[in-house]
Structures are given as structure tokens and as C-alpha cells.
Point group: D2
Chain length 420, copies 4
């Protein structure tokens, strides 16, 4: 199958306009990724603190590999000359359909290629991609994958920050990514009283519309019946969460799911990840320091709590006499004027009570790119919203983020809901 | 709170009739449990092959502990004289609200009390319970718990068989529970062609009715919107599953969920649990022997496949161009005449695509008995149906069984479904 | 090779006398083993608390397997009809040369054969062995193995007690093996002041003499040069060890070998195995209870300390300004009148500073029986002495017991030494 | 205690001459260490492939920390101003007496300080040290520690190469440290027939003389009785080792120690570390490629085999009808003209049959520096000799290298011995 037409002069039709738009977006997204590494050393970019969190260098190369493999090679065919044949294995994440993969836990073992060479790789693929897009008419199927590649790279922009935060935190010196105005993970959210937004029972439309980009897991749009419920107007703050800690929340098994209690004991959780108690009286807000991408900072009581697991979010909700929302509840309120705050960037991701499962009628794409989302639909919970590390366009009502219930290194917080 | 009225002469009212009926059921259920141990030695009853599978002796004592703790002690109050104070800890399963628990993985370390003493414990509690029920009017709240205790013991009747099967299989001699007519786990299901039962979109009523016993997780009955779908008229057979094996199903990553593929590699799965390949040509049905509660038996092609994980069920369905049903789809068809086969005892449990989560409006009971179901609502998938190890009354359309997706020691099989 | 002469009338020569003596010893040793199980249930005999500690039932069968395999089968040849062919695998411990072995960690999974059948196995092999020994002249090579079998069974008599102690201790009820006069593991040792027995430098003769039974690892007898040293006249007592605990011995890294300190942290050791601190002031002798084969008992200050690892013995010696003796030092003093106490049964085994390595000129026997000792000569330390669980004949100056440095479930204690 | 005299003009006495000589040696050793990093990137220097193998950057800093802590700080006293207070913890290896230590397994997590700053640290400490040594008379006790620091840094020079080799090998691209003339780990050893050098029984003098530098574990010099033995004139070659592989050496349990066989199965060993079999017929020498510090190279049959564990060395010796020498045998032959080859640099380290234990009369130094050697005297085997990665001065007859029996990442090989 050829994705490229033979014509060298481009028509001014819709396809061409889309292609030009995507090329502009490409340049913008690619530059944004590189900008995140300002001030990082080659050593910083090689850190891998755990298998789940990849080195920055690996992210930089992997998103490039995506364009090389699924766009350039797909457009060119079997005579495509790769930038470096070894990169096909080194920077493949989990696409079994593409072939072998370097083990995830050993991504930190790759001192060669150097960071410098990875930047050269980025530049070469940028140039090849720009040349392809400028001189050939690309068919819609490949443009779809190209657009997926842009969104894919944006997802990795967020992961670069969340992973880097974890890497740096493993250094006892607690170094900062950069000194900067306001933490990416802790945008200022002026405190307002929490109120509950009610909704009567009825059928809701869930999932992304046909038009516009969305990941496959956001579709198809479908109906769901919702019982009457109410959802909080804002997320739970650090100050509120501290009340839970003070009330013995981490010592009361009856508040926790069984697996959550096991995790809490096994991991010795006593507070969200990155919270450190600096003096003896843990009940004082002032006792707490929080590690951010800008180093250790005092706890900000009015900010949304972040870096809690699903288990902690669930236990907090039980303690508060509430529950977590389902993703359908979250989404149908987010689409209303009253619920606009649910989509506000910077508030943090919010655990929902929904397991990450396929929507009715879900189909995976054919080929290796079909591995993008579908094969992870078990053992994970859906998060909705978006943090200040989230690229702007990814904050939308149908976006389904997902992580295992014990994950804490993402900017994951809590919004309450209730049955009516 | 007293659950017992002072009156010694019982009225012939509804409450009394219910109490008498439950006492009869109690005698029946208790005798059924003991009957399962016919032919087992004290040594057999102490086996524990893995933390998930408890010794038969422990099951015998634990279900008794449930009646002693939640019925006798609750009815008697703080002056209750326990049969043996140590049993409160030894035979508590997971009720944190009751106090300390002997670690699950070490249940096989309990040679004392002996099996003989556990039978004495059963008899003593039987007598005390019968005396209580015969001479006092018990209020409805406690009768509810009494009825829960009966259903609880029936659940453990099934676990006695599934756990014992696993224990015995760990002996290289592959000993039988007992020589008997037909395997509990492999009831004869005469082969019929598979057809798909369709259902148009619409609202379904899901969950147990208000009347009659049901576990808390089956309620409240509520509405759900279902997209159009079809569900298979019978479960997948061993012979059909063998075609999947022959077609390289265990070697093709693209058929599997990512976590499933990891499990398959880590555990070196190449067939369902208890299948053993006796000669070189694994593609011949005759090559396979299957361990049953009656020892090793030739593979019976027409019987429903059992002892597969959710991951294998899901991979099989993908290979077959289908998917697993959701629990709501399963239940709404089971309530129709056409779907009656879904509730046929002996067919085996069937993995659904639904994560085990609370129904809208779900509330846990107050007190320790509230730990019965709710705290397990994460990281598990729902199974529907029932095996020949399942007590008759537990095969009902609203019954929600649940296990982690990697579990294989239950009689867990596959039913296919499709979007329409 | 035939080990049996055709003659049916036995000559009154030396060989015959030896054979008759061994048959008498056989009857005695076999009866002693069975006597250890008095009062144990079939359930007790199936316990396996850790891979290192085997079930009593397994010990009973394994020592019988040794006679069946290395004596009866060797004497009879390939037409030997085994008692049960499955036992060849089930009750082989580690003799790769004999064939497959049931995994050590799963010995507790063998409910069948039952204990009753294992006793039948013992009786059958007893009868076959007695018949063989009474009616045939056995050559010296096979009589040597027969004698090894007796000593082997005696070693397992000790292991039956040490392993059973560990099994029973894993039951929170802390049940006793039997109520009895004095703990097997805690023989009364009237306290006497410790003094040091000096020895000038010179050549010592180490190892078993040619005459009499000894294990292969005790030979050949050879010379060793010893620098001047002194060795304590008695082992360290529980009371003395308690001073080490009080003085923060378990909290002072400088007293410990690096691997020992790691083990102490990992295992959270704060006292010898089986010591339990009953009240808050751990510095009071009366605060401590000790688990024995007769249940929990108050700490007996004057008894030798037992159930310490090599790491604890080494740390104690450093704290005491001393060191552990080498095995050569121990042995050469044990052979003197002054050092007779080193061989007193009941005092407990004593860790030496010597790694378990072959003596100069050591040769393993040919055939599977050659696996008896030699293949374990790495990663273990030598212990000398003997506990009250040790059969009388095994307490001799050349006997080399050996365990890994972290082992604590044996009756292992401490004797001090010093350079002069 | 002050280690520095107040006089500013140095006398030309013996102490001063020693001090001047040590300062010269210091400059030489420090420069040699830096030279090893030529051509390595900051990323290469941060690699940590396993807890046992530290990053090059850490080695560079740790040996500097040793001089700062044990020389500069000791000479200056409590008013010493450290280069960076955080380094006290970050670059402490295992000296509990000095205080906290960054966990060994997380040394690869230190992107800050950068490599550049570590070089600045080296330079600053070099300057401070030179200034101290040039302007003050240092007492002998501190000069002893200074000399220990030089030898310590030389030991780390070897570890830089062995660790780096392991780090780079974990990259699937198998990158080279540098292209260079001859592999550090595979010096040319022209093949000569193996012969055995005999020695009659008698007393040998073992250990370092009083004069000259030696590590504490080489002393005191003492007598040992040796039975008659013979030792091979050269180490076992790769070609000879390949015969062992071809003869099924890795499949014959009877050749192995029990722990060795377990390790071989668990780790799936089938050849020395770094050997890779490039085609199907593993019995052909040409089938094998070997990873070196200069990349993948064909197997050189005549070179000494390296990168085998003690278990493999022991199994090879048993297969060859021989045994490994004891360290006393090795040392007493090494001091003869006939045994000079045992001390030839480049041949590789040679496993001995001796456990790493204290010599009679061994005393550890007081203070934290006493942790240098003594606390590792358990669970390790002694190696003698030296590889081409070993600094010249460290190849001496009394030098005791030691590693756990499963270690393979050192240049560890085999020399045979026999009883006479």
C-alpha cells in the first residue's frame, strides 16, 4: 500500500490544507519537546529511577522513532534507509508488531547513543518528515497516523515531566529540574468552598464526537444510563487531605480496599508521594515539605492534592462520606457549563471509579499501531482531567488517562461524588 | 443491641416460619459440607498448595467461626464463652473489624487443632446454634446474617473443591479426591453447534430483586443501557480451545492483553491449568490428559473448557473474532427463555469483560460483616454462571463471582459475545 | 558387582561378627527414630515451615529410602522389586546420581502416601533388610554403606527434632512436641566460671583415625600448624548473651560482619531464634520466654545460648573481646583431658571460625553415595560439639557439622577463643 | 590527636623522604585514574548495571572522598571545611563509622553532581592534599593511611575497568571502552604445555613481611603446614575450557558443588560471562565471540580463561581430575623461582579453594578505616594473581583478592593443583 501520490504540485484542496496544518503543528510540537530539556545535562537525561519511568533521552528518541517507523518508513516502503538500524529495537516501546524491543527496565543502561546523537536523530527525522510533507500528497490514512504521532509526542511531553520528577527525587540532594515561576505539578487554584453539582438520572452521551482528533479509546461515542448523582465543584486540596492524615486515615483499615491496605502496608505509605514531614508534629501543615520540579517547597494547603494512588483517593472519599465519580459521570458533567472546571488545566488528573475497559463497539486499528491503547485495557483505572504538565489540547472532556491503582508518580488527585 | 427476644414460646408468625426454615437449611448445608470430606485423611485436609487456596480443615473451621462470631456471639453479647478463644484469630479470614488474623499463607502450618478437634468444633457450634434458633425469637437483622452465613458456607463448599483440586495436583502422584461418577469440574455437556442470541439496544434491569437472598454486591437492582449485541448459546468447549492452541494461540502476542502476555511468559502457560500433554504431537486431542478431582482423565473434547485465566479467555475470544460479554449482557440474556443455558449448573463459570465494581447506589453493611464483598472491588473481573462444584442455589442470573484476571484454579471458562 | 556371596551358612569370622553387630544396631536405630514420633499426629508429621526444614514424615521415609536404594537394591541388582516405584523420586533428598527428586520446598505437599503407609514402608524395608542381613554374607563395601545408612538415620533423628521445633513454632499456639522432663534443646548445664584453656603453638593431628566409623568429611587425618591460642572451658550462657543484647549488641554495626549486619537488618533479628520478649523491659532476664520442644518456657540464664546464627556468634565474640575458635583448635583441645567438656552432649553445637572445606587429600566415594558430603563444601561454616538432640555416638571430637552462616534453627551456640 | 607537626621547614629525615615519595606517588596514581576515563562520556560514567558494579563517576569521587575524609579531615580536625558536605554521604562506600551512606544500588541515580563537578572535586582535593603534604610534617600513622589511600585508589582503578566492562555489555550495541592495542582483560599468553610443579610436605611461611606496604588482611605473616602437592605451571586457557563445555560440563551435575549447580540452573550459565555463541556448532572455537573492553572479539584459544565463577572453576578442576590450589599452596610456590609465573600480570586472577578468613593473629585497625577488609571475611573465596587491569604494584605473592563464589564480572580464571 502506498500512502504517497506521485504528484509533485499540491492541490489546494482539503487534504492539502490538513497536511499543511499538520506540518505546522509538527514543528511546534517537536520544538516544545526539546524546550522541556533546557537546563538538563546529558546525565540528567539518562536517569531511570524505576521501570515505569523512562529516561528523558529515551522519550526524546522514542517519539522520533514513532514518526520514523509509522510515517517515514510507511510512506517510503521497504527501501527506506533508517537513520540507524539499531534504533528500531532500542526505541521501540511496546509494539510487538514492529519487532524486538530493548527491555523497559534497562532503558537507563543506554549511554550510547549519546544525548547529542539523539538530538541529531531528532533533527534528521524532522528534516525528512518536513521534506516528505512538503513535497508529496499524503493520503488520509497516513495523515491520521501522523496526527496520532503528534498527540503521542504530546503524551510523552507530560511523561518527560512526571518521570523526570521521579528520577530527580531519587537523588538525596532533591535537585530541581529548573528554578521557575510556579511548579508544573501544582498550579495555583484559589480555594473556594466545595459544592456538589447534581444531575438527575437519564441517558448520557459518552465519548468523542466523530470530528476532530481523539484517541481510539475515546470512541465510539455511545449512550450510558446514569443514576442520579452529584459531583464536587472542585478537587480535594492538600489542606483537606491533611485532615484525613491527621484523622488516622493511613491507620484505619476499614477505610481502604483490601488491595489498597496491602499496598499501604507494603510500601509504608503515610502521605502522598513527594510529601516529606520535616518536624515532629505531622498534624501541622507547616510540618510538610513537598518535592516539586523546582525542588522542595512548603505544602500549599489550597492547591489540589496530587500524587495519590487510586487506593488513597478511594480511602479519602470513603472517609469523607463520599465516593469517586465514574468516568461517565465525570464526562457528562464536564460537558455542561456548570462542570467546566473539570476540564481546567493545572488542577491535576482525577481518579475515577471506572476500570479502563473498551467502550461498546470499540475496535483496535489494524497493524502495529493498533497496539496503542487496546492491549492495556485491564488492571487499570481511568483518570480524567489534566495537570499543568498536560499539553493544552489534551485537556478535553472525553480524554481517558489510565494507570494501575497503585501508581503515584503521576499528578493524580481526587474529586468527590455522591449518589443522590 | 439485642437480637433475641425474651419470649420462650414462639409465635406462628412470618418471622418464626423464616427462623424454622433457616434452621432446617442450616442442618442441610452443614451436613453437605462435611460430606465433601468423605474419604479425605487428616493429612489431605491440611494441604495448602498456595496462599490463595486454603486447607480443607481451615474451610471447615472458618465457616463455623462465621456462625460463632456473627450469630452466636452477636446474639449472646460480651458474656459469650467461645469454644476456644484462639479460634477467633486462627479462623478469621479477612475481617479486620473482628481483630487479628492468622496469616493466609500460613494456614497450612496449623497441625493443631487437629481435624478431629475441628469436627468437634463444628458439632459444638451446630448444637449451640440449633439451641439458639429453637428456643429464642431472633430478630430479622440477625436472621439476615444467619442466612448470609448459610450462603457463605455454600461458597466455601465450592472453594473446598477448587482448593483441594489444586492441593492434590501439587502431589506428583496426582491422587484423586475420590473415585466417582463424573468429575465435579467437568459435567457432561452434550455438544451442540454454537449459535448467537441477539438482543437489540435498550435499557436492561440488572441486579437482584428486593425479595429473596442475594449478596450485597448483587444490589441494588438498577438500569443499564446496552448497545445491540449477541451472546453465544453455549460455552467454548475443550475441543474448540484446542484449535486455538494448535493455531499458535499461546505464541501470538497480538492476541493478548499486555498484562496477559506478561503472565503467559512469566508462568510459561501453554494450555489451561491441569492439562498435561502426554505425547509429542500436542495437536492431537488424544495427546492430552486432564487432572480432575478423580485423577488424570483423557481430554473430553465436548466439555466446556475450564481453568483458564481471564487473559486466556480474552485471547481466545479475540482469536475467534469475538469478545467476552459484559456482565450486564450476560445477566439480561440469562433472564430470558433463550438464555436459560447461561444459568445451567455444571457448565462452569464464565469470565465477563466487566471489572468487579460497585453497582450504582451500592452500600456496604455496617460492622465487620460489611467487609464481606465491598473491599474487594478492584483488580478483579466478574464471572457469571456456576460450575458443578457450585451449590445449586448459587446458580442464579444476578450472582457475581469475581477473581483476579490471572486466576486459573477455579472452574473458569469462556462464553463468546459480539457487537451487532 | 555383587555385594552378596552365595553361601547360606555364615562363618563365624570377623565379617560375620561385624554384620551381626550392624544388624543389631539397625534394629536399635530404627526403633529410636520411630520413638521420636510418639504423640505426634499425622498432621504434625506433615508440617513444613520452610524449605530447609522437612516434614517428619519425609524424614521417616527418606532414611528408609536410603537403605532401600543403597543397600537392598545394590545387593539385589536390577531385578529388585521396589516397595513403591514412586518413592524413588519422592524420598530422594539430593542424590542426582539416583535420578529425579521431588522439590525440597514441596515436601509438605505430600498427603499421600499417608503417615500410615510410610510406617508400612519402614516395616517392609526393616523386614527385607533383616532378611538380607541374616541370610547372606555381605561384603565389606556394602557393609560400609549399611553403616553409613545407620549414621545417616541418626543424623535425621536430630533433624526431626530441629525441624519439628521450627514447624511447631510457626503455629501461633506454640504447641509442644510432648510434655517431658527437660527440653531436648536446653540440657541443664550448671553454671561455672568461664576460664580459658591455653595451648602453645605446634603441629596438631586433625581428623578421624582410620579405625571406626566416621563420615568421609572427617578424613583423612592430617597435620595442621596451630599458633598459640586459648579456648573457653564452657559455652556462652543465655544470661551472658543477654548482657550483649542489653549493651545494644544488635544495634552496633561495628560488631558485625557486613553480611551479618545485612541479615540482622533484613530479618529484624533482635535476639536468638525462639526468644520472645514478654514485657517492656527487655533487659530483665524475666522478660524473656523461650520456645522449646515442650512449649514456651522462662529463659534459663545458666543454660548455653542456642539458636544463634554464625553472624550473631561472631558479633558476640567480638563484643566479648574474643573470637570464635577454628575447628582445628576446637578438635585438638577436645582430645585432651582438659577439653573433655567440648564433647559433652547437651551443650549444643558451637560455631567455629572455619569454613566447611575439604581436608587435604579428601576424596569423595564413587557413585551416588559420594554426594553425601563433598558437594556442600562451600558457603557453610563448621560447627563442633553436639546438642541433646544429637545421638550419643555422634558426639565425637572429629565430627564436622556444617550450616550456612545465617542458619538459626539448629541448636547452635557459642564458645569463645583467643590468640595468645 | 594531631597528625601534623607545627614546623614549616621540613627536615631531610626518613619521615620526610617517605612523605615526599608518597606525594610523588599520589600525583602519579591520581593521574592514572583520570587517564582511564579518556574517551568516556559523562553518560558512560553514570552507568550502573548492577548493585555490585558502581558507576565510573562514583569511583572517581569515592577514592577522592577517602583522601578527604581519612587524610585531610583527619589532619585538620573538626574545623575542616569540606568541599561539599553532601559528598560525605554520597561517596561513602561502606564505612559505617563515618556515618550515613547513599544506597549502593542507587549510585546510578546521581546525575548531580555532574561528572564535571566530580572532576573539580578531584582537583580541589589534589591541591589541598599537595599543599598539606608539601608544607607540614605528617606523622607516620597518617602517612600509613595516606599510603592506604593510594593502594585503595589503585584497587578502584581495576574496579573502574571491571565495572565499566559490565555496564557497557548491558547495552545491546556492545560498545567499546576504546579501540586499543590488546584487551586489558586478555593479555597475550603464548601457549605452553601445562606441567605440574611439586612441593613436598612441610611448614610454609605465609603472609606479607613486616616491611613495605600490604593490606591488613595479608598479615600477620605466619606458619602453615602443607601436605605434599603440585600446582600447574600456567592457568587454564580458553581453548581448554572449551573442551569442558563440549564435554557437557555445564550439563553434568556430578561435576558441580550443590550451590554451584543451583546457580548454574538459576542463571542459565552455559559458558563464561561475556562469551557469546555466534553459530550453531558451539563446539567450534570459531563459533564464539567474546565481549572485551574493546568490543566483541573472536575467542582467543591460547589466552587464559576469565570471567568464570568459583563454581565453574571448581567444576572444571573436578572434570580435569584435579582441584583448585589453596591460597597457602599458591603463595608458597609463587615465592619460588619455579612459580614466578603465578605473579605475572595479565594472566588473570585465579580462584583458590580457600575461604576468605582472617589469618591467625589478625587484628583490624582502630577507627572507621578498620572496616577496610575485616568485615568481609565470610561467604567469599580468595583469588590470587592479578589481571592486566591490576595496577602493577598489586601483583605480589601475598595479595589476597576475594569475591563471592558466584561472581563472574572480575577477570577471574583457573589454575589447577593436585595432591601428591
Amino acid at each position: 500500500m502506498s500512502h504517497v501520490s506521485g504528484t509533485s504540485s499540491l492541490d489546494r484542496d482539503a487534504g492539502t490544507l490538513r497536511q499543511q496544518g499538520l506540518l505546522e503543528a509538527f514543528k511546534h510540537v517537536r520544538a516544545m519537546t526539546v524546550a522541556l530539556t533546557d537546563g538538563l545535562s546529558a546525565e540528567d537525561c539518562m536517569l531511570q529511577s524505576m521501570p515505569d519511568a523512562s529516561p528523558v533521552k529515551w522519550h526524546l528518541a522514542h517519539v522520533t522513532w514513532f514518526f520514523e517507523t509509522f510515517v517515514l518508513e510507511a510512506a517510503t516502503g521497504s527501501h527506506y534507509a533508517p537513520f540507524d538500524p539499531a534504533f528500531r529495537v532500542l526505541f521501540n516501546s511496546y509494539y510487538v508488531g514492529v519487532g524486538e524491543r530493548h527491555p523497559r527496565a534497562e532503558r537507563g543502561m543506554i549511554s550510547r547513543p549519546t544525548l547529542e546523537r539523539v538530538f541529531a536523530y531528532r533533527q534528521a527525522i524532522d528534516e525528512r518528515t518536513a521534506a516528505l510533507m512538503a513535497s508529496n500528497a499524503i493520503d488520509d490514512a497516513l495523515l491520521d497516523i501522523f496526527e496520532l504521532g503528534l498527540n503521542h509526542e504530546q503524551q510523552h511531553q507530560e511523561l518527560i515531566l512526571t518521570d523526570l520528577k521521579h528520577h530527580l527525587w531519587n537523588n538525596p540532594l532533591r535537585p530541581a529540574w529548573r528554578a521557575a515561576p510556579g511548579d508544573v505539578g501544582a498550579a495555583a487554584a484559589p480555594w473556594v468552598p466545595m459544592r456538589f453539582i447534581g444531575r438527575p438520572e437519564g441517558i448520557a452521551q459518552i465519548g468523542a464526537e466523530v470530528a476532530g482528533f481523539a484517541f481510539d479509546n475515546e470512541r465510539p461515542r455511545h449512550r450510558a444510563w446514569l443514576a442520579p448523582f452529584a459531583i464536587a465543584s472542585r478537587p480535594v486540596t492538600c489542606g483537606e487531605y491533611l485532615r484525613f492524615i491527621e484523622d488516622g486515615g493511613y491507620a484505619r483499615a476499614e477505610l481502604w480496599l483490601a488491595d489498597g491496605w496491602d499496598a499501604r502496608l507494603r510500601e509504608a505509605w503515610a502521605a502522598p508521594l513527594y510529601w516529606e514531614c520535616a518536624h515532629l508534629d505531622a498534624a501541622h501543615d507547616a510540618a510538610w515539605q513537598v518535592f516539586t520540579l523546582h525542588g522542595m517547597k512548603p505544602l500549599a494547603s489550597d492547591q489540589p492534592v496530587a500524587h495519590v494512588s487510586y487506593y488513597e483517593a478511594d480511602a479519602y472519599a470513603r472517609w469523607a462520606g463520599a465516593r469517586l465519580p465514574t468516568e461517565a459521570e465525570w464526562e457528562c458533567v464536564a460537558e455542561t457549563a456548570d462542570g467546566a472546571s473539570l476540564q481546567r488545566r493545572g488542577e491535576g488528573w482525577e481518579w475515577t471509579q471506572s476500570a479502563y475497559l473498551p467502550y461498546p463497539g470499540f475496535r483496535v486499528a489494524s497493524g502495529a499501531v493498533g497496539e496503542y491503547n487496546g492491549k492495556f485495557m485491564v488492571n487499570q483505572m481511568v483518570l480524567r482531567g489534566g495537570s499543568s504538565a498536560t499539553p493544552v489540547g489534551h485537556v478535553r472532556s472525553s480524554y481517558r488517562n489510565f494507570f494501575p491503582p497503585q501508581a503515584r508518580w503521576q499528578f493524580s488527585g481526587i474529586r468527590l461524588a455522591r449518589d443522590l
